[in-house]
Symmetry: C2
């Protein structure tokens, strides 16, 4: 009894502190348990016998939240198991995971050339065999040889340089140069297991205490709030303006910076996600220029999350890297501290499971870079397949290569389909009562706003949930569709949203729209004031 | 000028605090810079224009050290570049990296079966092709199919469950059961990008402040000191007894626990590395039982680094997992909190670059396990190739499989060669004047003690280096051989050691021994009192 009391108290303290520090909508968005009921914990004794308890672990860990794998996903996994064990027990026959940008889990196929090269690098002894000519494209064989020649001893199973294999960094730097039209230095590239560890590394470097603040857009991708919490810093919000298509206003940045300063918070860095996650907007070059100016004036490190750089769906917008924008303004290495994050998980490649990515670190003093190098050394290196893939993504087949045409067709097929899906879903959301949805100009998500009836908000309160979490849970239980409540991304207090990926395969979209529309109608009927 | 003064001052403050907190031998073992001279930093302006400086980054990062990729390795890389640019400029024609357990970088070949399966999972479309039969073994094709069937949608490019693919965890749990003779639960397995991130995760969970201590063996693998520093805790040392083959005495643990308590340190966990790194000893079962008792009595989490479980070279010793030992003593889930770390980087497989590994987490309350799950969720999942490899390592080919014989031959060839190399190097070290070296019963290292003449110690002081770092640098400059100074692993104050891997290929060992012996003789002649 005592134990339970203490644990409940700790949870309640936690909730209060969250309520206090952020906004009410957060309170029920904390990540929840995986289902351990089938595990050995079943037969576990009273918890008091364990030395580690919720009360004596790091409070940074306790405070950290990660909604895209939270409660709603645990419920989805439970339903999926029930469907498997007893088909027909629910009103749907499959779970549609729209909670996370995980394209291949929903049927997107990998780019053939990339996978050919990875397979050949994994098992190079077949490179010389005649059968290999029949199985693999000529240019994939050639590329594999080139990559192997860049790896000391051709050892794809060896730890590499802590920043990643030098030859692959050369390739990536060349790819950045080709993209931006400005020089890139392979010594600025740090290859990582996806973009997430790179973000953690920068937070680890910059955050000294809770008095250090990191500017994040609201809504934001929860990696940022989680990483800031884990490193003991303070998230300083700046709100994107939903009414202007999730516009990023410098006046808002200035206002929030002053507010943070008045609380004794020293703001170290500004996170910009472009194209936006969960909001899907693509920044204009002019807006980017003003952001660069702002960071320069205020001495902020610009942390540019550019993992969706290949995901732009509207002809009137184009991706510009912040480095290109800064260099175009005449700002060099010394003028702005800029970190750009890129990943193999997004774009048209969608290779989430390969955990490849990099950060390009510019505008840091040499002695500080040594510290970044040191931290990256502690984990030795990122995985070599992910490193190879990052180089392929930044240097895909070129005109004249055997794979070029099929590569272009695969890429174009994926991107144009994503564009169509984004449009179809956006239109469907905008037809729902009380729902408005901005256009997904880029990235992989829609983030519609839902105006919930007062009765629904009260019912959510009674169920101890944020109203949008309440909606998403009802949706899941009724349809098998998994959205993430907006409260997991933070939002203007009193507004409610959800994030939906545009990733289900096209042939499934009509059914999703039907199920969603039907559910929504019933929900509104039930709760209409 | 001002900048340099401030930076020097910061370094000097850091050094003093290190000297104060640990022992003198540490002072010059901090990791040093990669060589950025060829980078764009060359033309960088005065550092004062950058917002991020050594003075305003996280002091946890600044204090963190990681010697196995430190100063000595940077020097080695510089020499290697010089050799490449101007062959003949040094007294040697290649750098022999004995600094890190990175077998394939020194020519060890991967296990064929493992690589076949990885390649097929990377590019599954070839599984059905007739040419594939001629290129791959039957059982690798079958295993690839089995693995693909365990992955939802056969999508090897999708994020998996945060703990790793369930089917692969089933395989690993079965492998642990077969090894130990006690049940293992797939829900206890957390797959990670090598063992290092798993260690970080546990440190992140357990460390609340510098008043939280983690017991570590001295000498230790610097991942532990680095991770404790990065998470802001205190390393509580317990010294292994070199005179008894790096024995682990419970009386020493008790003494150090009391000493820590008297300083207000709350010790949360005990790290044991078995087989030992850098020390190479294999613990006896009886010793392990006493460690389990100690952890149970004192309420410590037992963090068992068991990544060298396949690396045992002496017939009189055998690896026993701590879980097996605890269960054999009749202790169940509720009696002891135990985390076992395993990696694909070591053993006979040596697949460092694949970044695969797992931790088996037992004896934690369900609500604390939820927190571990949450933290592992923030990075989404570990890389799928590494996950697959971890399952292969714990479930290699069996009698009757087509690959079984060649697999056994490859494995046996690697392990018996490592055993011979360990013996040859140990004997060579013991022949050197002033050097004594314990047997490498396991792991991949020798950690000889060197009694340096007073004159050498004075010369090291004059050069502002730890004496063992001074020795290792001279050795590298004279021979191209890279050892890591003992000060990077910590050691009894006033004693000096270095760590040498047993990984150079056998045909190179005689030359290494000759060069080392010749250098050592000259060094002693130069400095003999």
């Amino acid at each position: 009894m005592m134990r339970k009391f203490v644990a409940d108290k700790a949870r309640s303290v936690l909730r209060c502190s969250l309520l206090d520090r952020h906004c009410r909508s957060l309170s029920s968005a904390t990540i929840s348990a995986p289902d351990f009921r089938s595990s050995s914990m079943d037969s576990s004794p009273s918890k008091s016998s364990f030395p580690v308890t919720l009360e004596n672990i790091s409070q940074k860990v306790l405070k950290c939240e990660y909604a895209v794998r939270g409660e709603i996903v645990s419920l989805a996994q439970k339903l999926q198991e029930e469907l498997k064990a007893k088909p027909g027990t629910h009103a749907f026959d499959e779970i549609i995971y729209c909670n996370i940008g995980n394209p291949q889990s929903l049927g997107q196929q990998p780019i053939t050339f990339f996978r050919e090269v990875l397979a050949l690098c994994d098992h190079p002894v077949i490179l010389d065999k005649s059968e290999t000519q029949g199985l693999f494209s000529t240019d994939s064989i050639q590329r594999a040889w080139e990559i192997l020649d860049q790896i000391p001893g051709r050892a794809t199973g060896a730890y590499s340089h802590s920043q990643g294999i030098k030859g692959l960094r050369d390739t990536i730097a060349a790819g950045i140069e080709a993209r931006d039209g400005f020089p890139a230095d392979p010594n600025d590239i740090f290859l990582t297991d996806g973009a997430s560890p790179a973000v953690h590394m920068m937070m680890q470097l910059l955050i000294r205490s809770e008095n250090d603040g990191i500017f994040c857009p609201i809504p934001q991708y929860p990696l940022y709030s989680a990483s800031i919490a884990l490193h003991g810093g303070t998230l300083v919000p700046y709100y994107l303006d939903e009414a202007t298509g999730w516009g990023l206003e410098i006046s808002e940045l200035k206002k929030q910076l002053e507010a943070a300063k008045s609380k004794g918070i020293s703001v170290r860095a500004l996170v910009v996600i472009n194209p936006g996650n969960p909001t899907g907007q693509v920044l204009s070059e002019e807006n980017q220029q003003r952001i660069v100016e702002f960071c320069k004036e205020e001495g902020l490190v610009l942390l540019a999350d550019e993992v969706y750089q290949e995901n732009v769906y509207v002809p009137e917008k184009e991706f510009h890297s912040f480095k290109k924008v800064a260099r175009s303004m005449g700002y060099g290495e010394k003028d702005i501290s800029l970190v750009s994050f890129q990943s193999v998980s997004k774009g048209y490649y969608g290779e989430c499971g390969k955990r490849g990515g990099y950060m390009e670190v510019t505008g840091f003093a040499a002695d500080v870079r040594e510290q970044i190098y040191k931290v990256s050394s502690v984990n030795l290196c990122s995985n070599i397949s992910g490193q190879i893939l990052a180089s392929l993504v930044m240097s895909p087949p070129k005109v004249g290569d055997e794979s070029y045409e099929s590569y272009c067709a695969e890429k174009e097929g994926i991107l144009s389909s994503l564009s169509r899906r984004a449009k179809t879903l956006e239109e469907a959301f905008n037809k729902l009562e009380g729902v408005t949805c901005n256009k997904a100009e880029g990235a992989m998500y829609l983030f519609p706003r839902i105006r919930l009836p007062e009765k629904a908000i009260k019912a959510a309160e009674a169920a101890n949930r944020a109203p949008d979490a309440f909606y998403c849970q009802r949706l899941l239980n009724a349809t098998g569709i998994v959205f993430v409540p907006g409260s997991g991304f933070r939002q203007v207090p009193g507004t409610w949203h959800f994030r939906c990926t545009i990733l289900p395969q096209e042939d499934k979209i009509p059914a999703i729209v039907n199920r969603l529309t039907e559910f929504h109608q019933k929900f509104m009927d039930e709760f209409r004031d």
